[in-house]
């Protein structure tokens, strides 16, 4: 951990509709780790993600990505940084008038000089890596089930071999088996491709299974950032309420996976 962090947020504040959504967010994400961001609904997780992705600026504070300040960066610089991201949005955000294959091949077409055959082969590889079958390649997003759409979105997110992948609720709406499959996939991607993964989720199983560290967002700040076993023992009432509620308890008690 002596390297400088890949993403660093210092004193980030966000003013939304007459109140401070983020009061003072400090967060440092290291290269190659899988970090979870959790918190109650409406605590600003997705807004924080949008700020890191440079889709909206924070009101105050600094965000450094790849050691570069992005809040003051020029547009051209932002575009370059954004190419090194892969994002899987909450609603998947697949291009509805493209097939799955075209969706995954799209970033390759835009950002790399490749012939069509190579592009298709690479896109297909990503589709397979994301755990989809080849016969889904020519289907349109509307023809896919929810779980398959998630996987297609993930395939598009890793199309350019990004250094950081952001996943917003990747396991929401999936059956436990698919969710577990997706967890394995995320771990696998990190191990083979050395990705840094930022995971926003409510899925306690996922948090136990894949994350190295988890940041708990509440009261407009990061209340605690630690590994899961340490986080669940944290004494803050919000964190206790989150993990010691009926659902949090059951999943923790019956958790057969060893916490990392």
């Amino acid at each position: 951990m002596n390297k400088s962090p890949i993403i660093e947020l210092t004193h980030v504040k966000t003013w939304v509709q007459g109140k401070w959504l983020h009061q003072d967010i400090n967060l440092a994400i290291q290269t190659g780790e899988i970090i979870g961001i959790v918190g109650g609904s409406g605590c600003g997780k997705t807004t924080l993600l949008r700020e890191i992705l440079m889709l909206q600026p924070p009101t105050r504070g600094s965000i450094k990505i790849f050691n570069r300040e992005v809040t003051t960066a020029s547009y051209a610089e932002l575009l370059k940084i954004q190419q090194r991201f892969g994002v899987c949005f909450q609603q998947n955000a697949l291009f509805s008038s493209f097939t799955v294959l075209e969706n995954v091949a799209f970033p390759l077409q835009e950002h790399a000089r490749l012939d069509k055959e190579t592009r298709q082969s690479l896109a297909l590889l990503k589709i397979l890596l994301a755990g989809l079958r080849t016969d889904t390649a020519h289907l349109y997003p509307a023809e896919l089930s929810g779980g398959m759409q998630k996987r297609a979105a993930l395939a598009r997110a890793i199309a350019l071999d990004p250094e950081i992948v952001f996943l917003d609720e990747p396991t929401a709406g999936l059956d436990p088996e698919s969710a577990a499959g997706l967890d394995e996939l995320i771990l696998n991607l990190r191990d083979t491709m050395g990705l840094t993964i930022v995971l926003i989720t409510h899925d306690v199983d996922s948090l136990w299974r894949v994350t190295d560290r988890v940041a708990f967002l509440g009261e407009g700040r990061v209340l605690c950032i630690d590994s899961m076993p340490a986080l669940v023992c944290h004494s803050h009432p919000l964190i206790q309420a989150f993990f010691k509620g009926p659902r949090g308890k059951v999943t923790k008690g019956d958790n057969e996976w060893k916490p990392k």
Binding site: L101, R113, L114, D115, L122, L124, L125, M193
Partner: protein
């Protein structure tokens, strides 16, 4: 050591060894491909790939090492990987495991001409059927609701009348006024040659009241309101709001479509009167300037020469136009599929179809009136 900065591969022919160097990533993929393709590959034996000098290997690079490279061989050769880091080995074996299924991308064979025509015909026929079903449902729903006025959506209706009628007043006034000016100018020049200046009142009055007023209002409304209906309903369809209404036991026909159709049937005749008024006003202004016909002369002749029938004929067309615009707008809106392209396509169709049918209906009216000498 091969020290050229742009070189990614170094091939040793004697021991059939390929030494890889540098960044094997997506950005340099096409360069590496080019270098690999210029190597004279052997036709037998085994290729050894040495990855000691690779500084970065992403999945695109690994793809090239496993699948991409095999496409360059003239005969299938086996590959032995050595000196790769643990992580790189993992990545390579992960991709190798996928190879078996990778080549079997189902190809889409394009349809031949005949099949394309057939597909088009079937699609159009299905559309006609869908439209018939839509109008049938609409009629059924109207008959069901007709005896219960307290169940009508008065609030939605009022809101729609405001949107489609009141807010369209300025643009329709301006447009009709301009058309009145233009017609008078063109016809006035001809009439003046014969000294028949005063007949501009007859020409203008009849053409505006019978044709231009209703037609202009209808075309404006088709562009302004018909497209809005399609886009509104289409977006609701994409968001599954229509499905939600259906499951709540509130059919979208009752809540969304009927108020729109009724509202437009109410407002378009009113807008036609408005359009008539400003059309004639524009004509009057031009007649005074160009042909020296005073306001009084114009109005007195107008009163005597233009029968009320002309106004009524024009107004009679308006509800028919309104029905066409609203049903086409709502129908195309309900036809939207769950993708972004579809919303745009259906909105365009809505306007084109509405204007097409307005003009067709207008022509039909003309034939009808001339047959019955109205």
């Amino acid at each position: 050591m091969h020290n050229n900065i742009n070189s990614f591969v170094y091939y040793n022919k004697q021991n059939q060894q390929l030494r890889c160097e540098g960044k094997w990533s997506l950005t340099s993929l096409s360069d590496i491909q080019q270098q690999l393709s210029s190597i004279a590959w052997p036709t037998e034996g085994q290729i050894e790939i040495d990855g000691k000098a690779i500084t970065q290997l992403d999945s695109a690079g690994a793809w090239l090492l496993t699948i991409g490279i095999k496409k360059l061989f003239s005969v299938p050769l086996s590959i032995h990987y050595q000196h790769f880091s643990k992580q790189q080995q993992k990545l390579i074996s992960l991709i190798e495991n996928k190879i078996t299924t990778l080549d079997s991308l189902p190809s889409l064979s394009p349809l031949n001409q005949l099949a394309l025509i057939g597909q088009l015909v079937v699609r159009k026929w299905q559309e006609v059927q869908a439209f018939l079903a839509f109008t049938g449902k609409l009629t059924q729903e109207t008959l069901r609701l007709l005896p219960y006025p307290f169940r009508w959506r008065w609030k939605a209706l009022g809101c729609m009348i405001d949107q489609t009628g009141l807010r369209a007043l300025p643009i329709i006034a301006l447009l009709s006024f301009m058309i009145g000016v233009v017609i008078t100018y063109q016809m006035g020049l001809q009439l003046r040659n014969y000294g028949a200046n005063i007949f501009i009142v007859d020409l203008l009055g009849l053409s505006i009241l019978r044709e231009f007023g209703p037609l202009l209002a209808a075309i404006m409304v088709a562009g302004r309101t018909g497209s809005a209906f399609t886009a509104q309903l289409g977006t609701m369809k994409v968001n599954q709001e229509i499905d939600a209404l259906e499951t709540l036991g509130r059919p979208p026909t009752e809540l969304l479509i009927l108020p729109r159709i009724v509202a437009l049937t109410v407002t378009l005749p009113l807008l036609t009167v408005w359009s008539d008024l400003f059309g004639v006003l524009g004509g009057m202004l031009m007649a005074k300037n160009l042909l020296d016909i005073s306001w009084q002369d114009f109005l007195i002749r107008f009163q005597h020469q233009i029968p009320v029938k002309a106004l009524l004929i024009g107004l009679g067309k308006a509800p028919i136009f309104a029905l066409l615009i609203a049903t086409i707008g709502c129908f195309t809106g309900m036809q939207v599929e769950r993708n972004a392209e579809s919303v745009g396509r259906q909105t365009t169709r809505s306007v084109v179809l509405a204007i097409f049918f307005i003009i067709m209906a207008d022509a039909a009216f003309s034939i009808l009136f001339s047959t019955f000498k109205i």
